[in-house]
Point group: C2
């Protein structure tokens, strides 16, 4: 909610009706995310986006100011969905013995589901104006810091051994990245493991069960 208002502030529009802006932009994002994931940002044309979003190019440019705007909206919505996935998993988690494993599991499943879109962020962040590159990195960081908080909590409650701050930060980043690894090495890993096997092996690796 708050987030959406913020974005309509960040990206100006000709249109007065903010509900309409939200509705049309979500059409645009839904169309663009698929096209970008499939063909890349540069090989996708604004005309293709407009067509897939069922509006004219003219209209498109009343809701955004540039093609880069669309990419930013796309990156932002991807991160929002990943973050939601992780947050939901945490609030569902009942604590207890295998709670951390369960959170890692849900996170990797989110990465699995969002494979093509996480890849998209890796590939195309650089195509954004610097100002928005930073925003995207902040989003990435926000997700990682969720893991930092989780780790801290498990250390406090004694379910994990005491670790210094540097190590906690590193492990949180490692969890993030090893989730992403499934997306950008899937072409190979999926020939060797099912997603469930991957989750089990990585969980053991991360928690140091060798």
């Amino acid at each position: 909610m708050k987030k959406k208002l913020q974005i309509t502030k960040e990206i100006p529009t000709q249109i007065k009706n903010l509900d309409l802006v939200e509705k049309r932009r979500s059409q645009i994002v839904d169309a663009a995310v698929k096209l970008f994931a499939k063909n890349g940002f540069h090989k996708t044309t604004t005309r293709q986006i407009a067509e897939a979003a069922k509006c004219s190019i003219g209209s498109l440019y009343e809701y955004v100011e540039s093609k880069e705007d669309v990419l930013y909206l796309v990156c932002d919505s991807i991160h929002a969905e990943v973050e939601k996935g992780v947050s939901d998993a945490i609030s569902r988690s009942k604590g207890g013995k295998n709670a951390l494993s369960e959170i890692i599991r849900e996170y990797i499943l989110v990465c699995h589901k969002m494979s093509d879109f996480i890849l998209l962020i890796y590939r195309e962040t650089k195509s954004l104006p610097v100002k928005w590159q930073k925003k995207v990195l902040e989003n990435e960081l926000r997700i990682t810091s969720i893991f930092i908080e989780v780790l801290k909590k498990f250390i406090e409650s004694g379910e994990l051994p005491k670790l210094d701050k540097s190590t906690i930060i590193l492990i949180a980043h490692n969890i993030s990245v090893l989730g992403h690894m499934w997306t950008f090495r899937r072409w190979f890993l999926s020939h060797n493991y099912t997603i469930e096997e991957y989750i089990n092996l990585q969980t053991n690796f991360i928690l140091g069960i060798t």
Copy 2:
């Protein structure tokens, strides 16, 4: 040597003198790798590449058939350098207690040195013709399998506990990717760790010293 002949076969040229082809192509690659790393593949023009390589666009197109050819040459040369770095580290390694740590260390240092170029591969592989995407992934895999062999050797010699095949493969991929992590999270990590600290923490993490 063998590699270079192979590439001149893969990428046709108008020029008869193969030594000249090798020389000019290396000018072109040296120019292009910097431009691609800085501005991305799509925002770099063939004219810019030609200029930086100190030849005309006409000449450029006598040594390659397309802009994608240049990108492939670039990706290939990056992987060749990373692979060389790893192989050298292994052949220098004297075996013994901390040999594995030493190899991981050298690998991460190579990633550190090659940061911008490893990133380039993540970003631009998708811009290649499918045929060459596969080649690039094979190169990536070749580097990972070096780690697989190293791990096997250390298990045989008893310096690592026995692990099943799946786990060995996973750890090798994790080493690869956690090296890359320094390149694509450097914007954040370098504020928290020096490269040496990063290497130490990751080594401990990978070898399960918690």
